[in-house]
Amino acid sequence: MSVIEMRGLRKEFTVRIKAGRLRREKRTVTAVDGVDLRVERGEMLGYIGPNGAGKSTTLKMLTGVLMPSAGEARVCGLRPVAERTRLALRIGVVFGQRSQLWWDLPLRDSFELLRHVYHVPAGEHAARLARCRSLLDLDEFLDTPVRQLSLGQRMRGELTAALLHGPEVLFLDEPTIGLDVVSKQAVRGFLAELGRAGDTTLVLTTHDLADIERLCRRLVVIDHGRVVHDGSIAALHSRYGSRRMVVAELDTALPEPPALPGAPLQRVEADGHRLVFVLESATVAEVVAGLAGLAALRDIAIVEPDIEEVVARLYRAPAEVGEQVWVTE
């Protein structure tokens, strides 16, 4: 059985906008427009899309905060809204811009309180806390009131708070938003560690695609409430034509641009000393061999395709990819 199932999940909001002095017009906005997804136990799913695409709304429907307008959702086999409190014992939720912690109390107190809120046996709680403490380096600020923590410290606290009851599914809404590089890495490293063990399912929304590249083998792109891509990052690249590139630094510039089969020259930089090739059908070795016959090579670099660029293209051109596409590895 899938841990998470969505069938035709849909959410409409009615907004009232002013139309004249007293009159107000009702308009229906579709935030999530018929999403079908299944997530298996232990998967790490990246859920991305532009602002207003419906990411947070989907998460709210899966965690029992919002009621779907149509369609169905099951998490751990439970209906999120109808069986909210039972589901809450089995999932963890981290909202990047909201807090589950007690603002005026030391971080340690929040953890102890959550033990009561989730009715976790003391030994179980202590063991999980001990592991989080060492993996996330909590010890230095465990006795600091939450309001005095830096954002990075607080986020490490939020992650711990969401895990102390041993959830089967962890939902993370923008967990790295606003964090500095070091904190981002700490959070990613921790989540990777959590995912590696394989018995916690992770669903992660983010604007930072580095989160996805580091953590998620499966990527779901949502735009205008619809799934426009579901598959691996590699599948996204191959579908939307992004390629790896080879950057060659030459000792001396070539008199004319070289033509290598299967690897068209994309651009020439640094007065002809730097050449950038796109790998279409050629391999790196073929490009290097071909170049070596023409000029003295100083350096070779391989540039991975930039996922941000691909996704930006996806966001800009929803019409081209508007139909639901299913890409597998």
Binding site: F13, M67, A88, R98, W102, V117, R128
Partner: protein, 294 residues
């Protein structure tokens, strides 16, 4: 138990549940201890600002003292108010101020519901395995308002002692039950009016006119009010059962307006009905929130 600080045992999560620990699916749901923990946390949070807490504690008595002083001033210029003497009116005032202050302490902050929605506390509360309303009440319990409730109780006790009541076992029971019923009633009014903000975010003023208006209304004998106003507030909304009718029954006075004597004993029944309405209003409101997400 696993060694703290180690990463993964093969096939076992570092932090999440696994075969060794029962998962949330098998765990008993949290009970009263969870709510007690929330209350304790709120007390410790407020103690973090000790100096301002003490100032607030004293300052909060002010408003309630003012209610009583207003009545005393009124009796400086008149010997009767709507047919009631000072000592009789003070029983009404005592019931009203104790009940309002206590309900305001326990439930009054629910008027901050729009803020809870805006800051995300409301969503945070919904992803926990506890009922939403008690969590909100306990997490934002304004303990500094304790002083008002204590002052209200003092007024009530003094008024009951000095009103020359002929105590019977029935009246003793009523003197205990009526204030509690009035607390439940005012609490229900707080919750019901707060749920309006699920639909209309700027409804705070309207809510205040009912809650604070209700407090002022119940501080005087209903005989002082004009007839349509009285019909609406006293009997349409039920505020007459907070202090006026129980006071009549305690004092052994017939209702100048001609209602039968047993009406004075109806307060608990009215409170139960009010609580049922409040529960329904909350449930419907929360369903609306979840369907609009506003």
């Amino acid at each position: 138990m696993a060694e703290p600080g180690t990463l993964t045992d093969p096939g076992r999560s570092a932090v999440a549940s696994g075969p060794v620990w029962p998962s949330g699916a098998d765990r008993r749901p949290p009970g009263l201890a969870a709510y007690r923990a929330l209350l304790g946390a709120q007390a410790r949070s407020q103690a973090a600002y000790r100096a301002s807490f003490v100032v607030d504690l004293v300052g909060n008595v002010g408003a309630t003292v003012f209610d009583v002083v207003t009545v005393l001033v009124l009796f400086g210029v008149t010997r009767e108010l709507g047919g009631f003497t000072l000592r009789e009116t003070l029983v009404i005032v005592g019931l009203s101020s104790f009940a309002f202050a206590t309900a305001d302490l326990l439930v009054g902050n629910i008027e901050r519901l729009p803020r809870y929605v805006r800051t995300g506390l409301f969503d945070a509360v919904l992803v926990r395995p506890l009922a939403a309303l008690p969590q909100l009440l306990l997490m934002d319990l304004p303990l500094r308002k304790v002083s008002r409730a204590v002052f209200g109780l003092a007024v009530l006790v003094v008024a009951l002692a000095s009103a020359g009541i002929q105590w019977t076992p029935g009246r003793v029971a009523l003197a205990v039950v009526a204030p509690l019923a009035a607390v439940v009633f005012f609490g229900s009014v707080f919750v019901t009016t707060a749920t309006v903000s699920f639909y209309w975010i700027d409804s705070g003023e309207l809510a205040n006119s009912v809650t604070y208006g209700g407090r002022d209304f119940t501080s005087y004998p209903v005989t002082v009010y004009g007839s349509w106003f009285r019909a609406l507030f006293a009997y349409g909304m039920g505020f007459a059962f907070v202090s006026y009718h129980p006071a009549l029954a305690l004092l052994g006075r017939a209702d100048p307006l001609g209602l039968p004597g047993w009406v004075g004993w109806a307060a608990p029944g009215v409170a139960v009905v009010a609580a049922a309405i409040a529960t329904l209003a909350w449930r419907v409101g929360i369903r609306h929130y979840r369907s609009t997400g506003s």
